[in-house]
Amino acid sequence: MNYLLHVAAVVIIYAILAEGSNFVSGHCGQISLCSAAFFALGGYSTAILTRDLSLSWLTALLVSQVAVIALACALSQALFRAPKSQFTMLSLLLNATVYYALASPGGLARGALGLHGIPPARFGSFAVVTPGRQLLMVLLLYAAVQYVVRAVSRAPLARVLHAIREDEAFASSAGKAVIAQKSRAFALMASLSVLAGSLYVPYASYVDPSLATLGESVLILTMMILGGAGSLRGPLVGAAVLVTLPEVLGFVGIPTASAANIRQILYGLALVGCMLWRPQGLIGEYAFGREARPK
């Protein structure tokens, strides 16, 4: 039972990450490979603020959010001023920079050792220690994330992001500030990724640089595309499939050593299959690489 609760909580944390990725890679159509960097930054800042500075989880979350949103806004000026095609590579560079900064020995982050003994979140006398409570907390925040995602998807803002995805010259001729709007999407992605980090770290009680690997960023992007870029429930579906896949492989009785390889093969097959037969993802409607062309 506890095991199922654990899997459910991890699915939802990844769904939050995939929702974030959806704003930049889905709605804006700019493939981003730096979700994991913000995931890790959220995790480390929550770890340091709650463990070393004894702040409450909520305070730590707010401080991390403000700091990372400011960072994201500053970075997006550079990221989106470059030609559109370079964005993916720049986001990759950002991810690698954060990873190596966290993994280098010593300093606040303690290098590859990571940080251990991170206290669970507490709300007054209510400590989030049992798997049931952890899942409850994750679910409540996921509901808040869904509220944000829905509000943005229904607002004129989403229309502008889609216009930018389809045709930047048209969008700017229609008076839309392309860079500013992309920055908003990027800040949303950073904010949701940080939230996921803040949820994950007290839950796992430790954090290490593996949170910021390129593999994580690719996994998050894959979840988003597999579920359906630009759709509302796509990220949850994608996260559910890709998080439970290795668990299912474990049940089937494939030894752990080869399970990791088989998992990679299945990811690859899933992605290729997606591109061939369902470019819009499992439940999405936006097809990558199938842009409408003038007749």
């Binding site: 004129p156 803002l157 389809e166 010259a169 048209f170 700017s172």
Partner: protein, 251 residues
């Protein structure tokens, strides 16, 4: 009185090819200026420079007496210049209605903080824009297409829609790149009527068009350009009877 828009000695070259050479022109308020010339004369380049999509090598553009040099395209658009594209640009995968809604200016719902902290304001603006968009579609006879993807429209209907987008933007100066070229006569008639009506709403337009009859019917003044230069300028009748123009069009 200062003209609504003036270009002064614009020059633009593309790796040796002259697109604009010492090109000056003005557009008054409530005036429709026709722009004609052979392919490659620099007409579309002029639009791109005025709209801020291209920076001129030299020369300047004034809009309402203010220079627009260095202004990004979206800011120029927000000052009141709207354009259509010759190779039509619309957001093809969204609906006709959404294309028009996109083009309204100063929408509070496009800002993240407003979405969460001023939802009422956003809703009110969106509702008003929706009314106006439906009214525009109705006037243009496109209401039954409102919920179709823009890609499903005929070529003529797409040209009409891009004109509606400029009207939704409520721009004072419309840059129309071949608004009736290649479309059915009755659709062309509809577009031309709407363009001719612009001055009655205090708007001006520059219209690029090869169809001389169409231009004669709507333009107050014509400019004929070739190789980036202004060849002649004047009333439609004067320009169309100019020997240089006749020669160029007979070739």
């Amino acid at each position: 009185m200062t003209p609504l828009m003036a270009t002064r000695s614009l020059c633009k070259r593309f790796s040796g090819v002259v697109a604009l050479s010492d090109f000056s022109c003005t557009v008054e308020k409530r005036e429709i200026l026709g722009l004609m010339g052979p392919n490659g004369a620099g007409k579309t380049t002029l639009f791109n420079v005025v709209a801020g999509l291209l920076a001129p090598d030299s020369g300047s553009v004034d809009f309402r007496g203010q220079g627009t040099a260095g202004c990004p395209a979206h800011r120029i658009a927000n000052q009141g210049i709207a354009r259509t594209f010759q190779r039509l640009r619309l957001i093809r995968r969204i609906t006709v209605l959404d294309n028009i809604l996109l083009c309204f200016k100063n929408q509070p719902g496009e800002k993240l903080l407003n979405v969460f902290f001023r939802p009422r304001l956003c809703k009110r603006h969106e509702a008003a824009n929706l009314d106006r968009a439906l009214e525009l579609l109705n006037e243009a006879g496109l209401s039954e297409k409102a919920d179709d993807p823009a890609d499903d429209l005929s070529y003529g209907q797409q040209k009409l829609l891009s004109l509606l987008c400029c009207l939704a933007a409520d721009a004072d100066l419309l840059l129309l790149d071949e608004p009736v070229a290649g479309i059915a006569p009755e659709m062309a008639e509809r577009v031309l009527t709407m363009v001719a009506d612009l001055p009655n709403h205090g708007k001006s337009a520059i219209v690029i068009e090869h169809d001389t009859d169409a231009l004669k019917g709507i333009a107050h003044r014509l400019i004929f350009m070739d190789a980036g230069r202004k060849v002649c300028e004047g009333t439609p009748n004067a320009v169309l009877s100019d020997p240089r123009v006749i020669e160029a069009y007979l070739e």
